[in-house]
């Protein structure tokens, strides 16, 4: 391969000039840094004429939409519908005093239902997990909060699924719609959570209603993507057979294409529900009651014991919802023997009906099976607090030192260094990287994304975000990469580690804040550690997947030519796995960006802090500009990594 390249002068020339250009740009960047003191101010920070009032424009547009187009009435109307549904679920799940005045359903009935669903979908283990989650919730006395959270998911997820399905089908039917949809989805999926909240607050206000609507909007994009993907994957012969059976377009869609794309669509449902949970927890920032709000309050009050309990509840809910929907997605239809009776065919329904009846009856006799008051709960917050306190005191010297060391010797110098860089030098550096990876086009993409950030007027804040993300990702690489290599060494270990990573990835990001606040309190070190934890998981995961995915034949060939384990790893496995590992790096950067912004409330001075301010002053323009600035960072990295990985795959003959 390389021989062929070097022998061919035409192939070599552009490659050479490409690195030359990149080196030249790098030189410019270095020069700009070195001569900073004598540079004109316009090259150090974006000059005034370059900073455009995007926020004002967006605000004007929003005001126009809200007041002149009367969009307010539409959104309010929709919101009222959602509120009505929320009231119904709130009544049923935790007995809010609203129509239909039936609730609350006894907790034992809900636990039994969850158990039967788990059993029907996968078997005993999932049944135990599902029912156990609800038992845990009730035992810990968190029933009302959990049901507040769940009642929103129950309303929001179906809306997201429906909208996603509709938009997905539209995009699949029309190439033009798909073309418009793609960039929107790209941006939407890299906008931090808060960016969604501000417009919703403007249009809807705060409270559960707003929480539900922001959740709906936030979880639609993955559904659209999976619907599109699934419909595209339906084999042409299946569609043709539908045509030959004389199906009309509508018949074709609902009885051939959508059912055949079932698995992908259900994977979309899984993602919707996980996104819903993540967002519902965060929606506490806009007055959404429930688990998220409690967690937020407790964390801010540094009540570690009870935060841990709530954290466990959220984690259990996340894992349960994830496992159940995944099991549903991969379920294959199975036939019954002929002559099977109705009862056997519908055995889960029968079991459920019986168990629910029993639970209802028992709940009448034993009030404990109906509702459990907080005072009756078995909260373990006190012992947990004691243990945590003991632990914290024990390792206090270490954390103290670590905190001092990180802040004085790494974080502050690093932040100052990033802030020292003239913005022109940063742009030149990014252009150099872009050029080296993907030529002129990538260089322009990099400049465009960061140029827009410069024009937004939030350069310094953005650089602080960049510094935290780059430091955390670097740390995550240093830890995650070796861990991935270690995990990939044996089959069994790989499966285990992958399972752990999978589970950790289902946790809503908020959860990662609990241990770091516990250890480091509320400061930059805590933020960086949370981001680091969150970012390390995808790295471990993709490193393992990349290493495991290397074709056996190649490894055998290496072994045959007498390579040692280490040589095989460095010369065969890692180079082949690198494209996959880079996907992990990409995800890691994305996750870090999200996390940095979320962590803002425990004290940072970056874009996230400004976003919180925008949220509390409901400044849509500012909020969206900040959100887009974060999204552009993510999209730039995404572009670079994808370019690099696809080139690399081609070179390795993998694509």
């Amino acid at each position: 391969m390389t021989a062929a390249l070097t022998n061919n002068p035409q192939a070599r020339l552009p490659a050479l000039s490409k690195t030359r250009v990149a080196q030249g740009l790098l030189g410019v960047a270095v020069l700009l840094v070195l001569t900073k003191t004598v540079l004109p101010a316009g090259l150090v920070r974006p000059p005034e004429w370059l900073v455009w009032p995007f926020a004002d424009w967006i605000n004007a547009l929003f005001n126009f939409m809200r007041d002149d187009l009367g969009l307010m009435h539409v959104t309010r109307g929709f919101a009222e519908g959602v509120e009505w549904l929320l009231d119904v679920t709130a009544n049923l799940l935790y007995g809010r005093n609203r129509w239909p005045y039936l609730g609350p359903i006894p907790w034992s009935v809900i636990a039994v239902t969850a158990g039967v669903v788990g059993y029907a979908l996968q078997g005993w283990r999932l049944a135990l997990l599902s029912a156990g989650t609800f038992v845990w919730i009730v035992v810990m006395g968190q029933w009302t909060w959990s049901m507040e959270t769940l009642s929103v998911i129950v309303v929001a997820a179906p809306f997201s699924i429906l909208f996603g399905l509709l938009i997905g089908v539209l995009g699949w039917k029309s190439r033009r719609v798909e073309k418009i949809l793609n960039p929107i989805l790209n941006i939407a999926q890299s906008l931090p959570h808060f960016a969604y909240m501000i417009p919703v607050v403007v249009f809807i206000g705060v409270g559960p209603k707003a929480g539900a609507i922001v959740t709906i909007i936030f979880s639609v994009p993955p559904m659209i993507r999976m619907t599109l993907l699934g419909l595209k994957k339906v084999s042409p012969e299946v569609v043709e057979s539908g045509h030959m059976c004389g199906a009309t377009r509508w018949q074709l869609l609902h009885s051939v294409q959508i059912p055949t794309a079932r698995t992908d669509i259900l994977v979309g449902v899984n993602q919707v529900i996980m996104q819903c949970l993540a967002m519902v927890v965060l929606a506490s920032f806009i007055g959404m009651p429930g688990l998220g709000q409690k967690l937020l309050q407790l964390l801010q009050a540094l009540k570690i014991g009870r935060s841990v309990e709530i954290g466990i509840t959220i984690v259990l809910l996340a894992v349960m919802l994830d496992r159940c929907t995944k099991a549903w997605a991969v379920r294959q239809p199975e036939h019954f023997e002929k002559g099977t009776s109705w009862v056997v065919r519908n055995k889960f329904l029968v079991i459920w009906a019986v168990l629910v009846a029993v639970a209802f009856a028992l709940a009448q006799v034993f009030p404990m099976l109906d509702q459990v008051k907080r005072s009756q709960a078995l909260s373990m917050a006190k012992p947990i607090d004691a243990v945590v306190d003991w632990f914290i005191v024990l390792i206090d010297p270490v954390t103290q030192w670590l905190r001092w060391f990180l802040i004085t010797w790494i974080l502050i110098p690093m932040r100052d260094a990033y802030l020292y860089l003239p913005f022109s030098a940063v742009l030149a550096l990014l252009a150099a990287i872009g050029w080296a990876i993907g030529g002129l086009r990538s260089a322009l993409v990099c400049i465009a994304f960061f140029g827009l950030i410069a024009m937004s007027g939030w350069w310094d804040r953005a650089m602080i975000t960049v510094y935290m993300v780059s430091f955390s990702v670097l740390l995550a690489l240093l830890v995650g990469f070796p861990m991935g290599i270690w995990g990939a060494r044996h089959d069994k270990r790989a499966v285990k580690v992958l399972l752990i990573c999978d589970t950790l990835q289902t946790f809503p990001s908020f959860i990662y804040l609990i241990p770091v606040v516990m250890l480091f309190g509320v400061n930059d070190v805590a933020v960086v550690s949370a981001v680091f934890l969150f970012a390390a998981v995808p790295l471990v995961r993709y490193t393992i997947e990349g290493l495991r995915g290397v074709p056996e034949a190649l490894i055998e060939a290496a072994n045959m030519s007498g390579a040692t384990q280490r040589q095989t790893l460095w010369n065969v496995r890692l180079p082949m796995a690198l494209p996959t590992i880079m996907v992990g790096v990409n995800q890691s950067v994305m996750f870090s960006l999200f996390m940095v912004i979320i962590a803002a409330f425990i004290g940072t001075q970056d874009l996230g802090q400004e976003m919180q301010r925008a949220l509390s002053s409901t400044d849509v323009g500012k909020g969206l500009v900040l959100g887009l600035a974060v999204a552009f960072m993510g999209l730039m990295v995404d572009h670079l990594v994808n370019r690099w990985a696809s080139r690399r795959r081609q070179a390795l003959g993998l694509a």
Binding site: V238, E240, G246, S255, V256, Q332, K338
Partner: protein, 343 residues
Amino acid sequence: MTTPETVISCNNVWKLFGEKAENYLAGMTGNPTFDEIRQAGYIAAVRDVSVDINRGEMLVIMGLSGSGKSTFVRCLSRLLDITGGTVKVEGQDIGALDEKELIDLRRNKMGMVFQSFGLLPHRNVLDNVAFPLEMRGQDRHTRRARALEVIELVGLGGREEYFPRELSGGQQQRVGIARSLAIEPDIWFLDEPFSALDPLIRREMQDEFLRLQEMLGKTIVFITHDFDEALRLADRIAIMKDGAVEQCDTPDKIVLEPATEYVRKFTEEINKARVVHARGLARPINGIAPSGEPIAGHTTIQEMGRLLVNDTRDLMPVSDKNGKVIGAMARQEALDVLFGAPA
């Protein structure tokens, strides 16, 4: 004898894959070869094909992989819009049908069996087979009864609740066949329908096929890679190469008088005696009345080998199905077919 009624009539049908293929075809001069078209960036899957298919006829299409067989059949059912030429079904240009008319045509006249089955994975056998009836809007009960009937016919009785993934390839193929039979189509397209079946069932299905065709007089377009199968079933065989039909004729003619070098090569390996029938060698009688017992026209040369060797007549009379003498066959010629012509 009545002239056979043409059911499907194709005139200069072209199918090119590629951007703006119509423009390329319109501006095309002369008769470019497959490779020349490929140079221009198009794949000529069907090249200038003109074939008429009669009612009750079974046309078998053969050719190497990628020669355009499946594509041609898709053009006949308008699963693909053709690039040039016309396809008429019962006199109606199907290119001109609107969506509704096309759906009607497919609901009432056409059935198709797909090379890789094209079953709906989420429906069990019964619901797959009943699918075309469901599309027509028949009620649950009738479609169930009819579906069970055809499921029985293809030998899948008792498995109607299985899902496609729970069936073997051959069984899945039979579901596909049953589904296409459910609406009793007049025109039946079969894309390698028996390729996934084991030899025994394959034979059974072929017999079933011949019986059905005899009984219902369906018009069938059948794709196969298997020459024996083609010989058993075909009224005519069309041999395709690079999208063009090299020759479309009765099996006898194809082996006895190959139109092109390619067809000769294609049929070289075949034992001609098994293919050629007495009627294929029969010449009209010009006044001479050959004596003796006539030979039935549908016997192959191989089947009458012993007779040929033992008989002493130079000319042997050949009769049709009803016993009427239609011509005479030179014994020497038949012996040449049997043992190969002397060098």
